[in-house]
Symmetry: C2
Subunit: 145 residues, 2 copies
Amino acid sequence: MNMSDMIGVLSAKGLKVTPQRLAVLGALVALPNHPTADSIKAYVNEQFPSLALGTVYNILDVFFEKGIVTKVKTDRDFVRYDIEVNGHHHLYCDECDYIENYFDEELDNLLQSYFQRKGIPNFNIRDINLQIVGSYINHNPPKNL
Amino acid sequence: MNMSDMIGVLSAKGLKVTPQRLAVLGALVALPNHPTADSIKAYVNEQFPSLALGTVYNILDVFFEKGIVTKVKTDRDFVRYDIEVNGHHHLYCDECDYIENYFDEELDNLLQSYFQRKGIPNFNIRDINLQIVGSYINHNPPKNL
DNA sequence: TGTTAAATAAGAATAATTCCTATTCGCATG
DNA sequence: CATGCGAATAGGAATTATTCTTATTTAACA
């Protein structure tokens, strides 16, 4: 995603294009492991020292409302952000802090047909999210941890 | 679960049987909707005014370590507790705060055989948890909200 | 019943997140 | 290109779930 792509993302959602928003968007693209607000601030501050943490939260909230990012809750006490908004699942590593996106269309179809057949009494399903917990073999997660 | 059952649960795990622990255990059994530490305290305090919030967290942490409760993370900023420890999934209601346990052995078998066949490269699966998001038809969740 | 390690009460401390307000700035309009 | 306005940002204070600390109390066992 280059600069003009990023400008396009913001203006397509009716958002003013500000350097801060571009910087946060850039950080979301650059940082691979579902960064926290804090790590986004740290990353952006290297090039853009004035960005305030409150503004980072502000921007991330706006992005969340506009569907530019999703939030990933962890077992720890903070939220992590994900620029991927297409439906997907998550791999949680037991032994490190890595959270990896997991896409599996076959699985999605399987689940959809299962619940279409079986249903859940008195409940309309809107979305299904799998938390797949385990560990990387050889404890060797994808790069850029 | 009656009083002697609860005493049995505690001593089976090598825990001292204290009135506070029994009260918290009783609250977990009595409160249906994955209570927070705060609502457990409120419930217990009606009969047992001296129980401190810090002690509630303390007890819940001990219970968690001993496998007596599980923790359920929500989209809000707090943890909710569940006395059910057998593997299960969760229904999250979009429109209210209800979180319901969802047991489905057929689904578990389906998922297990799916991943046994397909696997995930470089990853050992230990547990799979579904977050099923949607809404109750007629917005009519189980009693005791 | 006395001993002791563990549990509790009470409140201070912590940390992620939100709120507040003055200032700045993007951008639409003229 | 200049201007005005509503939105965005900076900085710091406030909030809140949770953890930590310490003195006191208590359950369990000899």
